[in-house]
């Protein structure tokens, strides 16, 4: 039902990739702030992607998103969105974007239908088109059965889905979603992920911030890790994981193997009652055999984006 961005589809059909966002040395220091919230970030977001900004609280991900969405002025540097300069031509950018701001709320007595339908009308859509898109989006986000309920009678998760629907239902080429699944249960989150994937198939682009690393790993074509305002790593989830030397993590529980012995296999981290060893495939095999022989409980898993994130951010902070 939703129409794909024609230009994006044609260009991707021709094998050309448009840049949805391009920033060069983008910085932001808030009034009265000592340290920059964003520090010389140079980044490119290609069209038709789910691009995720991953970072700790206060890392600068929301700041980047808000600048790109024309909600916040940068202190220095350049940024263009869909080919238009965000600083000097924000109105051109605004014609083709939509946003779900972080931690907002619904409007008390408005129903789910009202929220989406009226938001589309306010954006200038025709009534017929707005009705069609509202119906479709509420269905996509499994909100149809609540569409006539006032938002203040809905659960927090449903209200958040309504807010997401207000952006998703638009025909914007670029969506800014600032922690769109915050506070949602696992099922609702997956529902939203499915919708976001469909949006990407239409050739539209999504810039997303999240603290859920699993979300970034599953959903994103590209992940940028930001810490203390600086871009510390960027790439597809598999590219990022490919940069890691220790590809396997082995969790060992029990007193049969000393920490010194474990450390000889790789990088060692204490996780509650267990030791976690980050190591290579070959060493993981050896370690597992040895630990099992000595009566320890062992579990082996590939290194996740979360492990990488913790390592990169931890290293930065050291």
């Amino acid at each position: 039902m939703a129409q794909a961005s024609f230009s994006a589809l044609v260009l991707s059909g021709l094998g050309l990739i448009l840049k949805a966002i391009e920033s060069t040395l983008l910085s932001k220091t808030y009034h009265g702030g000592k340290n920059p919230a964003l520090d010389r970030v140079t980044m490119v977001v290609d069209s038709g992607q789910v691009f995720t900004l991953l970072g700790r609280n206060g890392a600068g991900t929301t700041t980047f998103l808000r600048i790109a969405a024309t909600q916040l002025s940068p202190s220095s540097g350049e940024i263009s969105v869909l080919g238009s300069d965000v600083r000097h031509a924000p109105d051109r950018v605004r014609r083709n974007v939509a946003a779900v701001p972080q931690e907002g709320n619904t409007i008390g007595p408005l129903t789910a239908w009202d929220h989406v339908y009226l938001a589309l009308l306010a954006r200038g859509m025709s009534r017929t088109e707005a009705r069609k898109r509202t119906r479709y989006t509420l269905d996509q986000l499994e909100l149809t059965e609540y569409q006539n309920q006032p938002a203040d009678t809905l659960s927090g998760g449903l209200r958040q889905r309504v807010r997401v629907a207000m952006a998703v239902a638009t025909d914007a080429e670029l969506l800014f979603l600032d922690e769109p699944t915050l506070g949602l249960d696992a099922i609702s989150r997956r529902r939203i992920w499915a919708v976001l994937r469909e949006i990407c198939k239409e050739g539209r682009t999504i810039l997303l911030t999240t603290h859920y690393i699993e979300e970034a790993e599953i959903l994103s074509n590209h992940v940028a890790i930001i810490n203390s305002g600086r871009l510390i790593s960027s790439g597809s989830p598999s590219d990022l994981l490919g940069k890691v030397e220790e590809r396997v993590r082995v969790d060992v529980e029990g007193s049969g193997v000393s920490s010194d012995e474990l450390a000889s296999y790789g990088r060692l981290v204490r996780v509650a009652e267990r030791w976690r060893v980050f190591t290579s495939d070959a060493k993981a095999g050896e370690l597992t055999q040895e630990a099992v022989r000595r009566g320890c409980r062992v579990s082996v898993a590939p290194v996740s984006l979360e492990d990488l994130f913790v390592e990169l951010v931890g290293r930065e902070e050291e």
Binding site: Q71, R94, N105, T111, L118, R123
Partner: protein, 248 residues
């Protein structure tokens, strides 16, 4: 075409933020009666009914000033709590359309009070032929107040200050100017200050439209209209220039 689209956006936003509330929350209509009608009551009783006309004019203007300056609180709430401001920035909706939308929402809330006060005004002497001009004068005051309320809201960093600013502005623009008392009793120095507030000119124009004689040095209906229009344009231009649509 572009202007029509933005006007449509404003009407939709106004509807979004008022009608649905009103349908489910009739109390939200009543509070606007409270202050203007209380002052009208006091003014009427303490002057044995002699200042009733002045009191009705003052009440009408206070209703519109209150819904306008009340935007300082409302728009702060939409920005900080609902994040509606951020939602509409990242959209084709222009800042002035958003402002007008919130202002219209306030106007819709004030409809019952206006539906009581305007007929009273006609009943006590406003000729029907002058009604459009009277509506224009009070409409300018409403839009002026809304522009100022919105402008302030974009600088307020917490909700409580937003509501407080709105109340303070409504005193400055709705209660202190000569709306509930005749401007003629003001000393000339204070009258000069009162001329800086559009409410003063609107009150004087309403009095003229109702056939009263206004004898004030340096004021005439023409000057009143010019002052109203200029103040509105300055407020709108200033707001669109200075208000923080995009946060700095």
């Amino acid at each position: 075409m572009m202007v029509m689209k933005q006007l449509r956006s404003a009407v939709v936003i106004g509807y979004m933020l008022s009608i649905t509330w009103i349908r489910r929350n009739l109390l939200s209509l009543v509070w606007l009666f409270a202050t203007p009608f209380s002052i009208l009551f006091i003014v009427t009783v303490t002057t044995s009914g002699q200042a009733f006309v002045q009191g009705v004019i003052g009440s009408l203007l206070l209703v519109l000033v209150s819904v306008g300056t009340g935007m300082a609180g409302d728009a702060t709430w939409y920005r900080l709590e609902l994040k509606l401001h951020d939602y509409f920035i990242a959209s084709p909706v222009h800042q002035l359309a958003y402002l007008l939308g919130i202002a219209l929402a306030g106007l819709f809330y004030s409809t019952p009070a206006l539906m009581v006060l305007i007929p009273i005004l006609v009943y006590i002497g406003l000729p029907m032929a002058s009604l459009p001009l009277a509506i224009l004068a009070v409409g300018i005051v409403w839009l002026f107040s809304a522009a100022i309320g919105y402008l302030v809201s974009t600088y307020v960093s917490n909700l409580r200050n937003g509501w407080q600013s709105g109340l303070l502005l409504s005193v400055i623009f709705g209660i202190l100017p000569p709306a509930f008392y005749p401007a003629e009793i003001l000393p000339s120095s204070l009258l000069l200050v009162a001329y800086l507030v559009p409410t003063t000119h609107a009150v004087l124009l309403l009095r003229v439209l109702m056939g009263q004689t206004v004898n004030l040095a340096g004021w005439s209906p023409l000057i009143g209209w010019i002052a109203l229009v200029v103040m509105l344009l300055v407020a709108l231009a200033g707001t669109s220039k200075v208000a923080r649509w995009r946060q700095p």
